[in-house]
Amino acid sequence: MAVVEYTGVSSLRGPLLVVEGVKGASYDELVEIESSGKTRVGKVIMLEEGRAVVQVFEGTADLDLPGTKVRFLGKPLEMGLSPDMLGRVFDGLGRPRDGLGDMIAKEKRDINGSPINPVSRVYPRNFIQTGISAIDGMMTLIRGQKLPIFSGDGLPHNELAVQISRQATIKEGEFLVVFAAIGLRNTDAEYILNSFEETGAMKNIVAFLNLASDPVVERIATPRAALTTAEYFAFDLGYHVLVIMSDMTNYCEALREISNYRGEIPSRKGYPGYMYSDLATIYERAGIIKGREGSVTQLPILTMPNNDITHPIPDLTGYITEGQIVLSRDLHMRGIYPPINVLSSLSRLMKDGIGKGYTREDHPHLSGQLFASYSRVQDVRALASIIGEEELTDIDKAYLKFGEDFERRFLSQGRDENRNIEETLDLAWDILRDLPEEEITRVSKEEIEKYMKKR
């Protein structure tokens, strides 16, 4: 199809541009905008007779009405894909930004992807060992899962993400990390990339960077470019791909900004009413497909505004993802790393990926016991703060000790400390010894005999 060029730009507002006299454009189509020798890209977000509204990814700064030329390319926003992408760094739209030159694309794909047919999915049940006790023991990550980290400003979520991607081991197959920086501060992105480089992991990484200083609208495309790449490596080339996206809060901010420019009726806190559906088109791209080798596992990171888990961003995310890992400021202040608040954390796919044949037979009951006992610790602590520790009953005192051990010995671990699942579970039994046996009701008698009394 011949590409037609238009000059009739009638309005510019924020990242949006309106062109008049358009014929034959299609919805969601890719657009090139040329002005004073520079080319930007955009996409059609609304069409009317003779009129198209275009969202410009690089922003509209410096554009003018008469001098701007708009070309409709007759295809959706696509990106080039190739096995050579390993070890490279791209911008938020999938163009190389590491100065190593262009890459020859083997494939071109629409970055929006298509929904996976539930019939074609394979139910995920293979455990990924992260080497972190809290996660492996109590919110096990499963291959093909989407498990976000709910964090706050200043909490060590990037460190945790790096540690997970470095230590993550699967039983078989090739492993690869796709990293998408969405509106991330330069220092954070540098930290993450450097950590990978230091450990020699960079050759197994594809990175997409949209930094805080980069155009806001490009953030809409960044996770999609990363996931298109992940799907290519997973479902075409057979890799097990872990996708880390940080920070999804910036993505949602960008979504709100554009919605505002479009004059849409806002829903909660000014975020658009379609934010749930929009986030779903990102998060639901995790999974395993029948008859294909690889898998896409997602570890999105988001900072909860004001540490508020009921804020629309963590809230809508939690409804789509298969659980969440919540970081706690309180634990962080007390010097506990990783500061994971296990009680509000959860892995929905854990139940089918642990136990006999997956991790160890005692794992399901044991993790239930840890949750129940540690949740009792919170009540006892609240009580102790009112009546004083001395006034507590002996059982309550035992719970206090258990709580202390749980946080200092089980939860805490070094940033390079890699515990295997056996070590994690044995450690859990070890700290349960703080409690009298009658309090241990979630595990079976046989398990107590076999694991708690063995040493």
Partner: protein, 580 residues
């Protein structure tokens, strides 16, 4: 002249020259023939909601009417199937488009080639009326009855002499030329008629103690399960789909997770119905419109599901429908309303949210069907309130139209108390209606025992407030006993592990026996506490832990008689000590 697109805004499309289109008519949009529905008509312009992704659609592409309202096709072949929101079989979409969902695919909801053995019930010359059964087909676990479509009646003029039929075959021809075939078509937004509504007198048994014993639902009843994320809505819905004693289960995954639908798909064929011993898939119909599938099809999926449910109700079956989650459906309404530039009411939801929720739940009920049989549709809807806040519009409006409210609680879920149904804030409006059934079928004292247990829980709730501030030690022994017994009720009765082989489903007689054991234990223990017996001896550790584990350690109500004897012995020994 045919209708032409003049505006595209996401899933909403406006077409000009649309004089020939009707309100709610199903249309084919653009050259890819995307499925859509007319949702507004204004001076020759039609507003169309498109059920598929609109990328690539162009101005001036054609919109083609189909002449019928958005409908489902009802006939043999639905059971065990999995559909998208507009009744396209997902396995057929997979065959055509591979692992990713293709667009513009037309797929027959009922298999075209399957040969069905049909028992013809009518003869030439017989008069048939609407709703009357004229033939029967054995479909998986049930007898699928073919009914005369609504609005059709007359004398049979011709009868087919075949025994096996495919879906497009004709069975009978009436004198006026009307053909009776293997299927009928019904518009999803219109409730199917019945003769009259019947009172809710029979419970839907779920095998979940907290529901059957404490907050029961009747067949034909309505319930809402509200809960923030991670409180176990989906697991509870799955449990209900597995164990509820309905003949047919319609499970609607409305805007939920893909992996969860896959879980149902992989798990259900291997699970057996405790009542019939047949695979659960033999009574289940799945509708999956996951969160990343088009939002307008999500809006339709609820109606597709309930229409299918009503069809089976009309055959005289009890049908239970699980919608997970109605909040996603409400959000789809909100999203589409926004695109239509309607003036929003609360939190951006359209003003008609309340009436749409009402209309959906009102389609539940136990009825006498047109053919005189008894059937029911029970509706259980999950609600996902943002931030777990029950004061938001979808929860509050739903509360007005359902009679059971099974409130899921975050703090219970955090402590891994499952099902995390809060016994203080939940309620069932059916307890009085079902009283007679329970006393006749389970035990004449059921109502009284239930009341006593609820009373203990309520008293415990008050005492917990004190304990939070002062510790348990300050309570007098009698109140400590209440706290101890309440703990047994909470851990021993209310908690139920969905993944336990023994306890995933708990039969009614066992439920009652457990309840009786605990309440009777309390009554006897009281006497000793009154006699100033040491509480630690009355609530002896070994006995209490047996009570807490009785759900797992004793398989049946009969086995529990063992435990009763042991308790008897415990009190006899106590008696010996304190007599002296």
């Amino acid at each position: 002249m045919s209708a032409k697109i003049i505006k595209i805004n996401g899933p909403v499309v406006i077409a000009d020259n649309a004089e020939n289109l009707k309100m709610n008519e199903m249309v084919k949009v653009g050259k890819n023939k995307l499925v859509g529905e007319v949702i507004g008509l204004d001076r020759g312009k039609a507003t169309i909601q498109v059920y598929e992704e609109t990328s690539g659609l162009k101005i001036y592409e054609e919109v083609e009417g189909t002449g019928r309202l958005l409908s489902v096709i009802l006939g043999p072949g639905m059971i065990g199937n999995i559909y998208d929101g507009i009744q396209r079989p997902l396995s057929e979409l997979e065959r055509v488009g591979g692992a990713f969902i293709p667009r513009g695919v037309e797929a027959s909801p009922l298999p075209k080639d399957t040969k069905w053995k049909v028992k013809l019930l009518k003869e030439i010359g017989d008069e048939v009326r609407e709703g009357e059964v004229y033939a029967e087909v054995q479909e998986r676990g049930i007898v699928h009855k073919l009914m005369v479509p609504i609005g059709v009646s007359g004398k049979i003029a011709k009868k087919s002499d075949k025994e096996e039929f495919t879906i497009d075959d004709v069975l009978y021809v009436l004198e006026d030329g009307t053909k009776l075939g293997m299927y009928q078509i019904w518009p999803v937004r219109i409730p199917r008629p019945s003769k009259k509504k019947l009172p809710p007198k029979i419970p839907l048994i779920t095998g979940q103690r907290v529901l059957d014993t404490f907050f029961p639902i009747s067949k034909g009843g309505t319930a809402a399960i509200p809960g923030g994320f991670g409180t176990g809505k989906t697991i509870l819905q799955h449990q209900l789909a597995k164990w509820a004693d309905a003949d047919i289960i319609v499970y609607i995954g409305c805007g939920e997770r893909g992996n969860e639908m896959t879980e149902v798909l992989t798990e259900f064929p291997d699970l057996m119905d405790p009542k019939t011993g047949k695979p659960l898939m033999d009574r289940t119909i799945l509708i999956a419109n996951t969160s990343n599938m088009p939002v307008s099809a999500r809006e339709a999926s609820i109606y597709t599901g309930i229409t299918i449910a009503e069809y089976f109700r009309d055959m005289g079956y009890s049908v239970a429908i699980m919608a997970d989650s109605t909040s996603r459906w409400a959000e789809a309404l909100r999203e589409l309303s926004g695109r239509l530039e309607e003036i929003p009411a609360e939190e951006g939801y359209p003003a008609y949210l309340s009436s749409r929720i009402a209309a959906f739940y009102e389609r539940a009920g136990r009825v006498q069907t047109l053919s005189g049989e008894e059937g029911s549709v029970t509706v259980i809807g999950a609600v996902s309130p943002p931030g777990g806040d029950f004061s938001e519009p979808v929860t509050t409006h739903t509360k007005r139209y359902v009679k059971c409210f099974w409130a899921l609680d975050k703090s219970l879920a955090y402590a891994r108390h499952y099902p995390a149904i809060n016994w203080n804030t939940s309620y069932s409006g059916y307890v009085e209606d079902l009283k007679i059934w329970y006393s006749e079928t389970v035990d004449k004292n059921w109502y009284e025992y239930r009341r006593r247990a609820m009373e203990l829980l309520a008293e415990d709730g008050k005492l917990q407030e004190i304990i939070k501030i002062m510790g348990e030690d300050v309570l007098p022994d009698m109140q400590k006993l209440v706290v101890g017994i309440a703990r047994i009720i909470k851990v021993g009765l209310l908690q139920q592990n969905a993944y336990s082989e023994v306890d995933s489903f708990c039969p009614l007689d066992k439920q009652f026996k457990m309840l009786k054991i605990v309440v009777d234990f309390y009554d006897r223990a009281r006497k000793f506490v009154e006699m100033n017996a040491a509480l630690s001896e009355v609530l002896k550790g070994s006995v209490v832990s047996k009570l807490m584990r009785m759900k797992e350690d004793y398989k049946t109500a009969k086995d529990l008689e063992e435990l009763e004897k042991e308790i008897e012995k415990h009190f006899e020994e106590l008696e010996k000590v304190y007599k002296e």
